[in-house]
């Protein structure tokens, strides 16, 4: 019954698992990034539902508002930061995807990492276009 009562947490965890599954199983790196974003969204959803109050009001003390009816603003503030972080990670990842596609001509992880073993070491050579 407690599980049914907290159905939003179950939904968040399901979403989290879907995201993780996508990252692990999908071979296309764009889909992996979508999975990453689903995972992030799941965590954001979890946080926001922590602070949610049915019929709650904004946490501003004006005109004797009742503090017990206010939603918790801390998770929302945290998630604002979390969203910024998630956007930066996605932007960097997409930039890397563009570089990878230019240099390998594929988005498939199996083909990207297949020739890893026999690739000659070329640490000092500067290749590619930025």
């Amino acid at each position: 019954m407690r599980l049914l009562h907290n159905y939003q947490y179950v939904a968040a965890m399901l979403l989290f698992c879907i995201g993780l599954y996508t990252i692990i199983v999908r071979r296309n790196i764009i889909k992996k990034l979508i999975g990453l974003n689903i995972m992030e969204t799941a965590v954001f959803f979890f946080y926001i539902s922590l602070g949610y109050l049915d019929g709650g009001i904004a946490p501003i003390r004006v005109g004797g508002a009742d503090p017990s009816r206010m939603v918790n603003p801390i998770p929302q503030a945290l998630i604002l930061t979390g969203i910024v972080v998630a956007v930066s990670v996605t932007a960097l990842a997409l930039a890397l995807v563009i570089l990878l596609y230019r240099q390998y001509g594929t988005l498939d992880v199996d083909r990207l990492f297949r020739d890893e073993e026999k690739e000659p070491e070329s640490g000092t050579e500067r290749g590619g276009t930025a």
């Binding site: 965590v43 922590l50 990878l100 070329s122 590619g128 930025a130």
Partner: protein, 494 residues
């Protein structure tokens, strides 16, 4: 209270501020960037050195951001171990920065050169903040700054292998960060606090045992990826071996260690060793994985042909050492883990910078190519040999002291199997280190591999290598300067 209580926050903000201002300088006067970038790091190092002796080994320095009292405001809390690690971070980043000036100019140019220094400063500032913060959400933010700048730094050359290694690192690193965020969410939902000291009190009263256990497991997985604990280390060999050498030194010498320190903070400052019912099982599992890491890293290091790849696998092995010190949960074990962070940081940074010198002078990465290197690059080779001795743990070096305390700690905890594994790890280290030393000093290279014109890199690249290498010897001989205070600090934490 003197002015020194403001020092920790300046140590963190100065590099980050420098990172914000540097692009403008790069736009106006590109030539000055490498010099200007060293300024904030030097300032942080000086502030850190001034703090020595101000923090008692059984206390801490608390700084309230914006004068908001914790647990409501954000707290910066530096204890003895935190300062110890912050000084390691400052010292090694500064030396790697000095080394970078010549090295990186050969690998990247133009706007990327400025970007390199910006990311470098961002990464060092984030590492300092990561160690010093007393707020658990702040820990996540600093971890993300650290992670993002390190992904970008691995890919900075734009070379195809580098981009691929960076992407692989990101694919493991980003989900692990989300797991840490989720863990913080669980912790917050069970206790309603984000301040570490406040959490420690509330966890024992909280009734949500299952939530807290899951939260701790997620923390360990999240930071475990960042620290490259054995089954989660897949990103490390690629990223560490392909990144530019000063960055490899930072990644290997510092990043994995501050992540391990984060686990120490979560385990001992947040959950506290009293909460054995919450963390005991997970710590046992970490111990098994750490023991596996020691053996796996050592065996893989022996099999490598590429020098930087070998050093990277040696890091996997040494992370196992640090974690075995943590899981022992004894003062000696924790002291060993902290001291191992010092000597591993110095030795690994030195090894990677030496490897960088070889790449800079000759472009050689393979171990076979180093045959007879001694004749042409004697100073680099001697520094490499000295640092290798510390990696193995031969007596006068710091590596011996830390392994001694790690073993002592595990005997105290009654984990005799781990003692055997720690000793076996040293034997493996001896095998892979002496192989290189043998190659360098006692074998003659192929005809024409080392012409007479090749010689040691310039003094600005050689001096960081020698400072690091001499550091391993210094902290081995003068270990009594630090060990008693570390033991006291460990007892205070436990």
């Amino acid at each position: 209270m003197g002015a020194y209580r403001h020092f920790p926050i300046f140590m963190i903000t100065l590099p980050i501020l420098g990172a914000v201002l540097l692009p403008f300088l790069g736009y106006l006067r590109q030539k000055w960037v490498p010099w200007a970038a060293a300024l904030p790091l030097t300032a942080s190092t000086v502030l850190g050195i001034l703090l020595i002796g101000k923090i008692p080994s059984d206390g801490y320095l608390s700084y309230h951001m914006g004068n908001w009292e914790p647990p409501w405001g954000i707290e910066v809390r530096v204890d003895y171990m935190g300062l110890f690690l912050m000084l390691i971070v400052c010292g090694i980043t500064l030396l790697a920065m000095v080394f970078s000036r010549r090295y990186i100019a050969k690998e990247v140019s133009g706007g990327r050169l400025t970007a390199y220094y910006v990311l470098f400063l961002l990464m060092s500032g984030a590492m300092l903040g990561f160690v010093a913060t007393g707020d658990i959400f702040n820990l996540f933010v600093f971890m993300e700054i650290l992670a993002l700048s390190s992904y970008a730094l691995v890919a900075i050359t734009g070379n195809r292998n580098a981009v691929r290694a960076a992407f692989k690192y990101l694919l493991m690193g980003a989900p692990s960060s989300i797991m840490v965020l989720l863990a913080i969410g669980f912790l917050y939902s069970a206790t309603g606090s984000l301040n570490m000291a406040d959490l420690a009190g509330r966890i024992s009263e909280s009734g949500y045992t299952e939530v807290l256990i899951v939260s701790y497991i997620l923390f360990v997985i999240g930071f475990g990826v960042k620290a490259a604990l054995f089954p989660l280390h897949m990103w490390l060999p690629d990223a560490h071996s392909i990144a530019p050498s000063p960055i490899s030194a930072l990644l290997s010498g510092l990043l994995v260690e501050v992540s391990a320190f984060a686990i120490i903070r979560i385990t001992l400052s947040v959950f506290t060793s009293g909460a054995d019912n919450l963390i005991g099982g997970t710590l046992d599992a970490v111990g098994i994985f750490a023991a596996a890491a020691v053996l796996y890293g050592g065996i893989m290091a022996i099999m490598q042909k590429d020098l930087k790849m070998m050093i990277a696998y040696s890091t996997v092995s040494h992370i196992g050492y640090i974690f075995l010190g943590i899981t022992a949960l004894t003062a000696e074990g924790l002291t060993g883990a902290m001291y191992h962070m010092l000597d591993h940081g110095l030795a690994k940074a030195c090894l990677f910078l030496c490897a960088g010198s070889f790449i800079y002078v000759k472009g050689y990465r393979r171990i076979d190519d180093l045959k007879g290197a001694w004749r042409q690059m004697p100073w680099t080779c001697f520094a490499f040999a000295l640092a290798s001795l510390s990696v193995i743990g031969i007596p006068p070096t710091a590596g011996f002291i830390s392994k001694w305390y790690l073993i002592l700690g595990n005997i105290e905890a009654g984990n005799y199997l781990y003692v055997v594994i720690l000793l076996a790890g040293s034997i493996l280290a001896a095998v892979y280190c002496f192989r290189i030393i043998y190659c360098m000093f006692f074998q003659t290279g192929k005809e024409g591999a080392w012409e007479d014109s090749a010689h040691d890199a310039s003094i600005s690249m050689l001096s960081p290598v020698w400072v690091l290498s001499a550091g391993t010897l210094f902290f081995g001989v003068f270990s009594y300067l630090l060990i008693p205070s570390l033991l006291k600090a460990a007892q205070y934490l436990l």
